[in-house]
């Protein structure tokens, strides 16, 4: 196999990897704060809101991400009357699907982090005169994020791999270009190359989170 061939498939695949990384970044940057917001709503004292948020989380975690993507990309435009206004650019639609889905998972992760905080922390804050919001902001959330970090890291690696689902809604990304090259050239190399690129991305991510965990260590 020539170097020239290798480069000829590498370039479109790196192009595809760019879409993969872009989707990953958009999804994670929006879904983490959104998930955090959901956690707050689930715990809020406004019961109907909490109930809605719980239902949302259940729906998102209880159905396949692939179904949700197909629903947003191909399903929404089929809705009578309003459907024609719901035709989104495919990449945008896919981002939306990932954000909505992952926010639910992050909400559950943060909820777990909240539950892990000792009730003595709340009591100490109360006795020191902090109000509810001060307690959350200065005592609870910093600990919650730290506790949730390993689970967030894990979920992020899953997100990188889930971007391959874009293949199903025909958004050109890493796997799409690999598959095209395999079909065209009848060689296994593009699959191996795709695997290596995914590994490099997840390795960077893992190293980043390990660094963050060390930096924020307090136990």
């Amino acid at each position: 196999m020539s170097i020239d061939y290798f480069i000829s498939i590498l370039i479109p695949m790196l192009e595809g990897a760019r879409a993969t990384v872009l989707l990953f970044l958009i999804a994670i940057i929006v879904s983490i704060p959104l998930g955090f917001l959901l956690t707050l709503i689930v715990r809020s004292s406004i019961k109907p809101l909490a109930y809605l948020a719980n239902t949302y989380i259940y729906l998102m975690r209880g159905t396949p991400l692939l179904l949700q993507l197909l629903f947003i990309v191909f399903g929404l435009p089929l809705i009578p009357v309003i459907g024609e206004y719901l035709v989104l650019d495919r990449f945008t639609a896919a981002c939306l699907g990932f954000i909505l889905n992952y926010a639910a998972y992050f909400a559950e992760i943060f909820r777990g982090g909240l539950l892990a905080i000792d009730k003595g922390q709340f009591e100490a804050a109360k006795v020191l005169g902090l109000n509810r919001w001060q307690t959350m902001r200065k005592v609870v959330f910093p600990q919650m994020f730290r506790i949730a970090l390993p689970a967030v890291a894990n979920e992020s690696v899953t997100l990188v791999k889930d971007t391959a689902l874009l293949y199903a809604v025909a958004v050109p990304e890493l796997l799409h270009f690999a598959q095209t090259a395999v079909n065209r050239d009848f060689t296994i190399t593009p699959f191996l190359l795709a695997g290596v690129i995914y590994l490099i991305i997840t390795l960077c991510l893992t190293l980043f989170f390990k660094w963050l965990e060390r930096r924020l260590r307090f136990d």
């Binding site: 009591e123 100490a124 006795v127 020191l128 005169g129 200065k138 924020l216 136990d219």
Partner: protein, 249 residues
């Protein structure tokens, strides 16, 4: 007039009555040792003084201001002001693990905007030196021993300059060789006329430092009086049985 007045407080957890009509008073400069078997309600009693437990009935007042009067609590803002006269030290320290020692001390004063940053720093360093931990100011709690953590917790409670300091079994979570350093700090405070209510199993400390002891069992005050009398010459059967069990261990 007593600083703290507790009248007929009651509390139940379901069918279990943990506090049955408890009354006592705390005068200025008192050091009161509260002793009794586990499950006697002494921690619940102490925690109710700073509204960590909600009472079903009775009254608690600080300098004549009612936290709760005949089972009815004051408005939240008022409640907060009155309980701010009291500091609390917990069995498990409850330091904030993500903050350094000095940040633990300064978090509340800074958030509540009590004094300037310089004043707060001056006070926190003074209190750390008082508990012998000046060199640990910038260390995270996880790097401290249990005894050091509890001394930080005491310094943190003193930041508000409380009129009464409450201790909920401050040495029960410590290894025996670390209780001494905490008891020493508490003894220093007593000598500086700090008013304290201490739930404790340390009989020697009660005898040596407290001026009054209260024995609780099954949600009631069975007996109270001078620590030496109560511990050496108890009048009630239940007190005798408890002391016999404790001292024969």
């Amino acid at each position: 007039m007593p600083i703290l007045k507790v009248e007929n407080i009651k509390k139940s957890f379901g069918p279990l009555e943990v506090l049955k009509q408890i009354s006592f008073e705390v005068n200025k400069n008192d050091v009161i040792a509260v002793i009794g078997p586990s499950g006697s309600g002494k921690s619940t009693m102490l925690r109710s003084l700073v509204h960590l437990e909600e009472l079903d009935g009775g009254s608690i007042s600080v300098n004549g201001n009612y936290i709760v009067k005949d089972g009815i609590y004051s408005k939240p803002q008022q409640l907060k002001e009155i309980t701010s006269e009291m500091g609390m030290v917990f069995q498990h320290f409850n330091l904030f693990p993500h903050l350094t020692v000095v940040e633990n001390l300064e978090l509340a004063p800074k958030l509540l905007k009590k004094g300037s940053a310089e004043q707060t720093r001056e006070l926190s360093m003074e209190l750390l030196s008082k508990v012998g931990l000046s060199d640990k100011a910038d260390v995270l709690p996880s790097k401290l021993s249990g005894g050091q953590k509890q001394r930080v917790a005491i310094a943190r409670a003193l930041m508000r300059k409380p009129e009464v300091l409450l201790f909920d079994e401050p040495t029960s979570a410590l290894d025996p060789e670390l209780t001494g350093e905490v008891l020493r700090v508490m003894k220093d405070l007593a000598q500086e006329d700090m008013t304290m209510v201490v739930v404790t199993h340390e009989m020697e400390f009660a005898k040596e430092v407290a001026n009054k002891a209260i024995f609780m069992d099954k949600g009631e005050i069975v007996e109270s009086g001078s620590p030496v009398d109560l511990l050496s010459n108890p009048q009630m059967e239940r007190t005798k049985a408890f002391l016999y069990r404790t001292l024969s261990k």
